[in-house]
Amino acid sequence: MAGEISKVCVIGAGVMGSGIAAQVANAGIKVLLLDILPKDGNNRNAVAEGAVARALKTDPAPFMSAAAAKLIECGNIEDDLARVAECDWIVEVVLERLDVKQALYHRLEAVRRPGTAISSNTSTIPLKVLLEGMPESFAHDFMITHFFNPPRYMRLMELVTGPATDQALAARVAAFCDVKLGKSVVACHDSPGFIANRLGVFWMTGAVTETPEIGLTIEEADAIMGSPFGVPKTGVFGLSDLVGLDLMPHVNASMAGALPKHDEFHAINRDIPVVRKLLETGYTGRKGRGGFYRINKTGGKRVKETIDFATGEFRLELKPNLPELAAAGKDVRKLLEAPGRVGTYAWNVMGRTLAYAAKLVPEAADDITSIDEAMRLGYNWKWGPFELIDKVGVDWFVSRLRAENIAVAPILEAAAGRTFYRVEGGKRQYLGLDGAYHNLTRPDGVLLLEDLKLAAKPVLKNGSAAVWDIGDGVLCFEFTSKSNSLDDQILALLQKAIALVKEKHKALVIYNEGSNFSVGANVGLALFAANIAAWSQVEALIATGQEMMQKLKYAPFPVVAAPSGMALGGGCEFLLHSDAVQAHSETYAGLVECGIGLLPGWGGCKEMLGRWATDPSMPRGPMPAPTKVFEMISTAKVGRSAADARDMLILRSGDGVTMNRYRLLADAKAKALSLVEGYKPPEAREIVLPGPSGKVAMDQAVAGFARLGQATKHDIVVGGELATVLTGGGTDIIDTVKETKILELERESFLRLLKTSATLARIEHMLETGKPLRN
């Protein structure tokens, strides 16, 4: 297709450059990664190659697979710059210095193919400044694509175009970033800091400045500014440590330099002695010795400490005790109105940030949705600023601003007596500067249950799940339980859903919009049942789960699972029993039951065995498949991407990966519909398993790990039961084993394990602490 981006050149292999290169490679697209020549040594590509090597070792991983890294070709700007002609998009991620960038642009202009998109990842230099003195042909193809760190995980990309930018070209780059790189592209005006950093820096600076003035501890400030406002619980000081304290003075200086004199930022941007002292003593944040928080390891123990604003010294971390905060609960307005230091801080920081956000329409963006999306995806806020104002009430908010003589932005005036968002005729609408409501439109290929729910009722529903009609004969099965944990209600509704699709629909998609697809079965229920020795109920739950999974697998219509985030244990077993998986690229799937002293009991062992036993890459004989599956399940291995899940055979060759979270449901629906014509359920597999001879080898391997201290006493028990299941119990290698036999072995071993006190201790510990017990 003309204009398709099939190769990208990234110039600059720093953390951002190599991260962007990695994400392009994650999408399966070739990258030419260029940097300067090294100071010494014979390898002229050492800088770029070093960056890729570092990225392969970085955690969280910039690459989704080692194979992706092979799509990156490294070079240098002296020998290889002319090769940008091979590329359809050039991303400049070099030093934030105008002279350096422009010198590069002039060199690029001489060698690139006309019409090749060029973008800068600058976060501080305006587009019009970057283009000063550049030829018109360059301006025509130029734009700013501002990614957030780390580029694989942060979903926001701010796009800035200029008056001369070819809009069709910009749309192509935006579509590529959306579909291939999985980013939510927000159009910004060419104003300082664009949206997210403009507002985020204002908010963080205010939060840091106000803390000592109001006399709060850092822990108190983070407690107020964190979860109550839907902000990640790291709060502001935790976030500063994460981002790097050393960046703050630079970012603030560049923001102050770029903003007009009357901007409110200047009033809050001041030198903070404690921060200066931290930086002078090498406390740059988590990447260094620590920042506002540090882990003190002197004396052999790990002690969490916090800087005290009053003394400028570290002291033991103090748990905040703020009754006003507790009293406000989830009521954001009550928090802003709270008496004393809590309310003052909440208002001075967040109240002013929201007021500042309001004036960014139209300064930084055309509409409020861009600002909300930028803060949700760029700073991981649960609610954008305008959603927060809706929560506190526009009129209350405006009257408080007036009372404090704070300027009221036009968009706030326009909203008087109303809300910023509303639902009308089943559509979500937002308020424009023109005072009118406009439909919130989604790009083609985006389908969200969130939108659907505004206009429709579920076709089936109970306390833990719901079924939605997503059109064209496809139903969507949604988990709605806490953390999407799986229980008997989900199984009950699944049975109804299967019957309903059979009766009058074509296909079923299993999907939800939680942060995790499912973290597995509700083990609290299992623990409860075990504690009252209700073994028959537990057995029934296992048997019902197995039955439902088999029904799903052999249903006379296609079933497509569409996971995002974690798909663990039973959640993973849903994937394994679907005809196809359309996975979000950020899917973390695995059978983790052994971690809590159990084993996959809903057919997970059976499916993994079947997949590995029939995989053409495996050596012949009864042992290779069980060995491979044993390694994965006994270590509770979880894939760190959809690509990993493919390597684990949780995804199969026909399964798809969607990079953009928003596009997952539409892609899954399309996949389901593609399977409808001529659909035949799979045939039951029979496989050869090694029987007791194979179990001896597995037991011996576990014993070896135990001698090394890598397997615990109970790991030996759990490993033994897992080995029994995976080797087919008492089978002989001249026989084949049916699926039903493996399911029976799963049930028996599961129950035996649940009856051990060590397994119960593991479950209890996991429920209480969220961490595995190594007993």
Binding site: G621, M623, P624, P690, A697, R707
Partner: protein
């Protein structure tokens, strides 16, 4: 009785499994190139060869299908030359030598190639389908025991400290590195032509290692034990071959005789202390020759682990300065099936190089065995 001589010795470079240069080379190709090299080096007439006997510890996958015959075909031996595969685990290719010698003395052929091969990169130790007999596993737990565990057992029973093992390992590395630097391996190494280029250098040797470095390594098999990766032989890829013929044949065709085979022995020991296998097997071979351990001027004792090597050396009474003169398996590597032919060939060529009258090659074998070959200067 007919005298049997070693009339040539060659091997591939030994390189680390999975990480080394030979990881991507098929074992049959590797062995065939060594066989071809041995024939060229010795000048033996290929049509006189009765049989090629190849030792291999895990003869499956690329080293399965009676790889001995296949190596003969790959090496363009005349179609009339036989080929077989022998498995005595680590003792496999020493067994090849013994079979050849026995056949010669039986009058069943005059010239044999005794070879060995193991790609530990490409065929997993234990094979693809380890199916252990549950009854035996219960009755004799040592039968399937991992080698590291047996090394720990020997260290415990013979009270070989971690420090002593590390001292031994460092010495082995230094001796091997010195021999390598002096070019003493060049004559025995047949360069292997791989897709990625020519491989002609040993890859396992770490001459720079120190006792301090080894002391910092994690325990490899048992958190209450003493054995580390540094005091174990590495997983290795390699092939080796020796030319075994009657002395009369060698004389008639002007082949260079390295040493005469004086006696051999094989013996079983408790599986859980398999590392002590050299003691009983060496004693048998030495008794048959009417000799003692201290009579040996050259000793090639396979260093599967430092613990078992030290225990065996002291039990048999080998002289330290005669033992593993160019370093042992801890440094050079231990491609299971290829080791036996290497140490017999090495002992024979050291006897020729260093002087002295008697040499012995001996090694331990998984499952609880030892094997030994006594050589005499000609």
């Amino acid at each position: 009785m007919t005298n049997v001589v070693i009339a040539g010795y060659a091997r591939s470079p030994f390189t680390l499994a999975r990480k080394g240069a030979l990881a991507r080379v098929r074992p049959d190709d590797m062995a065939a190139e060594v066989v071809r090299g041995l024939i060229a080096q010795t000048g033996v007439k290929p049509e006189d060869i009765e049989d090629i006997i190849v030792g291999c510890a895990f003869p499956e996958g690329e080293q399965g299908m009676n790889v001995g015959r296949l190596i003969g075909l790959l090496a363009d031996l005349p179609i009339s030359v036989g080929g077989c595969t022998v498995n005595r685990f680590c003792g496999s290719s020493m067994q090849s030598v013994h079979i050849a010698a026995g056949q010669i003395q039986l009058g069943a052929g005059e010239v044999f190639i005794a070879a060995g091969v193991e790609s530990m990169s490409r065929i997993p130790m234990g094979g693809y389908n380890p199916l252990f007999n549950p009854v035996l596993a219960k009755k004799s737990p040592g039968a399937y025991m991992g080698m590291g565990e047996t090394a720990e057992n020997v260290a415990r029973r013979w009270q070989i400290t971690r420090d002593a093992q590390e001292e031994f390992a460092v010495k082995s590395q230094k001796k091997a590195a010195a021999a390598q630097a002096a070019g003493k391996f060049v004559a025995e190494i047949i360069p292997i032509h791989a897709k990625a280029g020519v491989i002609d250098t040993d890859g396992c040797i770490r001459g720079e290692t120190t006792k301090e470095a080894l002391a910092g390594l994690k325990l490899a098999f048992d958190q209450e034990g003493t054995v580390t990766a540094g005091t174990s032989s590495p997983l290795t890829d390699g092939a080796s071959a020796v030319l075994v013929c009657s002395e009369a044949y060698a004389d008639k065709h002007g082949l260079k005789k390295l040493a005469r085979i004086k006696s051999v022995g094989v013996a079983g020991v408790e599986p859980e202390i398999m590392g002590i296998g050299p003691v009983r097997s060496s004693k048998k071979a030495l008794d048959r020759a009417g000799l003692k351990g201290s009579d040996m001027d050259v000793v090639e004792l396979n260093e599967a682990f430092a613990s078992q090597a030290l225990a065996s050396i002291s039990e048999i009474g080998f002289r330290e300065e005669a033992t593993n003169i160019d370093g042992g398996a801890i440094a050079i590597g231990h491609p299971l099936g290829a080791t036996g032919a290497r140490i017999v060939g090495k002992a024979a060529s050291l006897l020729a190089r260093e002087g002295g009258r008697y040499a012995i090659a001996t090694q331990c074998i998984g499952g609880g065995q030892g094997i030994a070959t006594v050589l005499e200067r000609i």
